[in-house]
């Protein structure tokens, strides 16, 4: 159990490993614009389906509750 803090700290520290990644010589346009566009569109594309799925979940739940209400009456 003593190891737990050490593991947690190492885990958190590993989040900074990306500085090494940044040093990695991969090809990418140096344009700040493109970088921002990728950020933006990634956020856009990830949030949209998740939002729709959550919306769909509640919609179907509401429909089902209405459905059940008819059964009871």
């Amino acid at each position: 159990m003593k190891a737990v803090p050490a593991i947690v700290i190492t885990g958190l520290a590993s989040l900074f490993l990306h500085f090494d990644v940044q040093a990695c010589a991969v090809c990418f346009s140096s344009s700040e614009n493109t970088r921002a566009a990728f950020y933006l569109t990634t956020a856009f594309l990830t949030v949209l389906p998740v939002a729709m799925l959550i919306g769909g979940f509640y919609w179907v739940r509401k429909l089902q509750q209405k459905h059940d209400a008819v059964d009871q009456s």
Binding site: S14, L15, L17, H18, D20, V21, C27, Q64
Partner: protein, 571 residues
């Protein structure tokens, strides 16, 4: 599309009377969900043979470079690329998807929720016809001038976009068209599955009385439909790059190749869960049945699956860690990638808990289900290493990745498929399969499978890159040790393929000579086991009413240890 949806809806509203159909009408133009399911099943199995044959050819080339492969011929570099590309694409798009989602979905959903057919039967038939067309187009792509496409199943541009680079002008385009057609087929099928399961449930069947496999197929369909849009857009753009001369993905013309990876993996990662979920569902059904125990944590599994479905949309960039995406973004995706292994682990834990304390019967379907659990675990665990963006710099595009995703995909697509087949075979064909041959087939598949891919983890860690047709050209990788491992993997593969003949024999002989199956051979609870095997057209003589959940096994106070969902009284 809008139009088709509209015009077909009223179909269910008016009844028809029953009359005999000719063989062709019955088996080729039927709108019966069971027939369409079987059509998908047989097409998928045929494609599995093609994919396996390709794997055989390129593994032989890797083990014995330059040798003339028996039953194939020599495998040149272009040939090699074409083989791996189409092996991957076929196994994912033309085997895993049609068999796990379309075939099992079609056969099981109406039977399990207690209705006579899909809500849109004609759309269902259209779905299969488009799928068949996609198969035809794919085969055409192998035979056009220049040969089949060889740009990998991910088809990264600019290689895939410019004919001067990939040297397969029409091969590449036809391949892309085939993939796009296949998506359209599943789109139509998926809409049908979701609508049917929500709208045509038997009276009394609440949301939480739906068998887990139906839920899993429904959720997989929803995920597929929420993720496929971007890839359809990307395919259209790539096709235009190839045929019209636009430069969306070609840097020399102002395009951005990383954009394709973006659109591809946005679909690509949810896709792995799309095939995973139905397999998990099949395994859950089998496990409760053969452990004679209630499924542990039905609601937990359900909600966890919802969570997985949501999370699956926020991890995709882990495939692009070294494609040059912003490292800060990679960091976020690192965290989400590690997060998603939690719900998956949770589901697997519930399965283990279902087994715990049960009176397990080791029938063939159960063996396959247990085999799934063990092998899939290995695949899932290695994914976590790949999810670390720092480690992935080394692992990316190595055989470690190959071994990772085969340890996930093989249990899903092959083991899951066999588990489902052995379990529902009596229902599908009205005959029992041979148990002994089934067990031989199981051990003859699972042991060689690990013989192929465990060594590949090692060569991956040794730095062996994927998509290279002859490692003798690389002094570091041409050592006798590594070559020995390659030969071992190839021999395992050939062994595994040979054992599939046991299955083929069992499958076809049982279909005609097997013992006649009773309606409920496994003493299971779900509704499909309350109708004769095979179910007649229209499924239920009298449409059932449901009184309880699907997993009431070994309930105290009952004489029998199972309690069918539609039985009003104690059993």
């Amino acid at each position: 599309m809008g139009q088709t949806t509209v015009t077909h809806d009223s179909h269910a509203a008016h009844g028809h009377d029953h009359h005999e159909q000719s063989f062709i009408m019955k088996y080729f133009f039927s709108t019966d969900h069971k027939i369409i399911g079987l059509q998908y099943m047989f097409t998928g199995m045929f494609m599995a043979i093609v994919g396996g044959y390709f794997a055989y050819a390129f593994r032989m080339q890797l083990a014995f470079p330059g040798m003339e492969v028996p039953l194939y011929g020599t495998v040149g570099p272009g040939q090699y690329n074409m083989l791996i590309t189409n092996h991957g694409a076929i196994m994912i798009f033309w085997v895993a998807m049609p068999v796990l989602i379309a075939a099992f979905g079609n056969i099981l959903i109406p039977l399990m929720i207690g209705c006579d057919d899909m809500v849109f039967p004609r759309l269902n038939r259209l779905s299969y016809q488009i799928f068949l067309l996609s198969v035809v187009v794919l085969f055409m792509s192998f035979f056009v001038q220049g040969g089949g496409f060889g740009g990998a199943w991910t088809s990264y541009p600019p290689l895939s976009a410019v004919a001067e680079y990939n040297l397969t002008d029409w091969g590449a385009s036809l391949w892309l068209i085939a993939v796009a057609l296949e998506f359209v087929a599943f789109l139509i099928g998926g809409i049908n599955f979701v609508t049917t399961s929500m709208n045509a449930r038997a009276p009394g069947m609440r949301m939480t009385d739906i068998p887990i496999v139906v839920w899993m197929i429904v959720l997989a369909s929803i995920m597929f439909m929420a993720s496929v849009g971007p890839l359809i857009a990307g395919s259209v753009m790539l096709l235009m790059d190839q045929r019209v001369g636009t430069t969306f993905f070609v840097p020399s013309g102002g395009g951005d190749p990383v954009l394709w990876q973006h659109l591809f993996w946005f679909f690509g990662h949810p896709e792995v869960y799309v095939v995973l979920l139905p397999a998990l569902g099949i395994v859950a059904e089998i496990m409760t049945t053969f452990a004679r125990k209630k499924l542990f944590g039905y609601k937990t599994i359900l909600y966890t699956t919802f969570a997985t479905g949501g999370l699956a949309f926020v991890v995709w960039a882990h495939h692009q860690f070294i494609a040059g995406i912003d490292p800060r973004m990679a960091n976020i995706f690192l965290v989400t990638t590690l997060l998603i292994s939690i719900p998956i682990a949770e589901i697997l834990f519930s399965y283990v808990a279902t087994l715990y304390g049960g009176s397990i019967e080791f029938r063939t379907p159960m063996l396959w289900a247990l085999g799934f659990l063990v092998t899939f675990l290995l695949g899932g665990v290695t994914g976590i290493y790949l999810g670390s963006s720092a480690l992935d710099i080394y692992f990316h595009d190595s055989y470690f990745v190959i071994a990772h995703f085969h340890s996930t995909f093989f249990p899903i697509a092959i083991i899951g498929m066999f588990a489902g087949l052995y379990h529902w075979y009596p229902k599908m064909f009205g005959r029992m399969m041979d148990e002994t041959l089934g067990k031989i087939h199981f051990w003859g598949t699972i042991i060689p499978f690990n013989g192929i891919f465990l060594p590949l983890f090692l060569v991956g860690m040794a730095g062996q890159h994927r998509r290279i047709y002859n490692f003798q050209h690389f002094p570091d990788l041409a050592t006798a040790d590594l070559q020995g491992i390659r030969v071992f993997a190839t021999v395992s593969l050939v062994t595994m393929l040979l054992f599939q003949f046991v299955f083929a024999y069992n499958f076809f002989v049982s279909m005609f000579k097997g013992e006649k199956a009773p309606a409920n051979p496994w003493k299971s609870n779900t509704l499909e086991w309350t109708v004769p095997s095979p179910p007649p057209h229209g499924n239920f003589a009298e449409l059932p009413t449901v009184y309880r959940g699907p997993y009431e096994y070994s309930v105290p106070g009952n004489k029998e240890d199972y309690w069918p969902q539609n039985m009003p009284d104690r059993n």
